[in-house]
Symmetry: C2
Subunit: 261 residues, 2 copies
């Protein structure tokens, strides 16, 4: 029995998220079907986490166990030949049987992207939320800085969360503004990327944080209000859930020792 770790990038626009669910059409379904087609085995893959419908991922890890003897360097191209063009296996390696893509993960980073220019970018339209109104980015920076650390993030979790504990740690959270797009003149806000690195994120957590932060940006909340929302431990205290298309699973990191060949 071999334990195989792969990473997969996908444009989530046309999928109901990563993880298998009753209505089908998930990234996991396509990956398992491609693996079955290649090996003849029915395998169950384990992702480093779930993603919501319409959310994207850049090199999301997943692992599975197989009896197949196909050399590791052949898997990537063989699977990509069986996958739709908006799902691509990027890396493949054999790992110790003890490795688990979710439980072994040290930290994850998500990126949420807001196009603050007056006109949306047609080439990035599936990967950005368009918000042409004025945003106080410095206020948003101050607001998000109040969310780092170890906290109960119930206020920023879906009411449908089934986790026993809502305590998580956000190690870093930061905002970068990119003025490079072609239609981003000097009087435009540019493209705002919000990054969060943590040991785990609850259902909708990044999107609810962003939805609340947008209210800070719009001047509807004070930056300091983020702390009050956090302490309320009540979903009703936070803002709306930002739309899924702006969200991308950006990076999942493991202890180097686990992955040593």
């Amino acid at each position: 029995m071999r334990n195989i770790l792969m990473t997969v990038s996908y444009d989530g626009t046309n999928y109901f998220g990563f993880q298998t669910q009753p209505d089908g059409n998930t990234v996991q379904d396509y990956l398992e079907s491609a693996i079955a087609g290649l090996t003849g085995e029915i395998v169950k893959i384990h992702g480093s986490g779930r993603t919501d419908a319409g959310v994207h991922a850049r090199e999301q890890p997943f692992h599975f166990q197989t009896n197949s003897q196909i050399p590791i360097e052949r898997w990537r191209l063989a699977l990509n030949g069986r996958l739709p063009s908006d799902i691509r296996v990027i890396t493949a390696k054999e790992v110790p049987l003890s490795f688990h893509s979710r439980r072994s993960a040290k930290q994850k980073t998500y990126r949420y992207t807001i196009n603050g220019n007056r006109i949306p970018d047609v080439f990035q339209r599936h990967y950005q939320t368009h918000h042409p109104g004025h945003l106080d980015v410095e206020g948003m920076r101050e607001g998000i800085s109040l969310l780092t650390g170890t906290h109960d993030y119930t206020s920023f979790a879906s009411r449908h969360s089934t986790k026993a504990s809502h305590v998580r740690t956000i190690y870093h959270a930061w905002i970068e503004v990119d003025h490079s797009p072609a239609n981003s003149g000097s009087d435009e806000q540019g493209v705002i990327h919000i990054y969060m690195t943590g040991n785990g994120f609850l259902q909708h957590m990044v999107r609810i944080i962003v939805g609340t932060l947008l209210q800070v940006g719009e001047g509807k909340r004070q930056p300091q209000d983020m702390k009050r929302v956090l302490e309320a431990r009540d979903r009703a205290a936070a803002g709306p859930t930002a739309e899924s298309k702006g969200l991308m699973l950006w990076k999942v990191e493991y202890e180097d020792a686990i992955l040593m060949d």
Copy 2:
């Protein structure tokens, strides 16, 4: 009567090019329909040039004449509200009646993008040709440098070209390699952007130049062969037409004096 100059960006994936044609589904059709809906006038717009089916454009200029009194600053948002999300009007200004978006153009730049990494980039899949095999980029640089200047480009024009003269001038042609994408490791070729600036381009000209240049990159032709192909004035001497999705109209420039307010 007012003369209005606009620029439009579009993802050409789902269109049969810019210019109206019998089968419909062109960018021009959608723009004219949006203008008609806004003003009640049937107008004919004039693009700075054609683009092939599947080719993209970043701020392509077009102009039209109208009796509408709608203030210039309102046009952009009003039209975008009537256009599909993969077509966006970026700028709008009033120009002298003598201005013509094609005839007044000083130079145009096209960009052709080749992803040379082993795995395509899912987020750029509609805007890049994937070519994972080894490419001799220095050879391609040498080859393309032989095409600049004023020449008869018949070898690099579609056999269906209806132009009386195939003499054009390429002012500059250059290649940039971007190693920044996430799945572009140190052993990967990166993303290769080929730029060409000229006073005009014949039908399929950029794509045939790129298709021939790829043969240089693959070692099937010598860089110096580009000069022989050019001098042949025969389409059969050149390589295949590179696929349309990698091509983007990058920039159209006018004499500043023409556009002075």
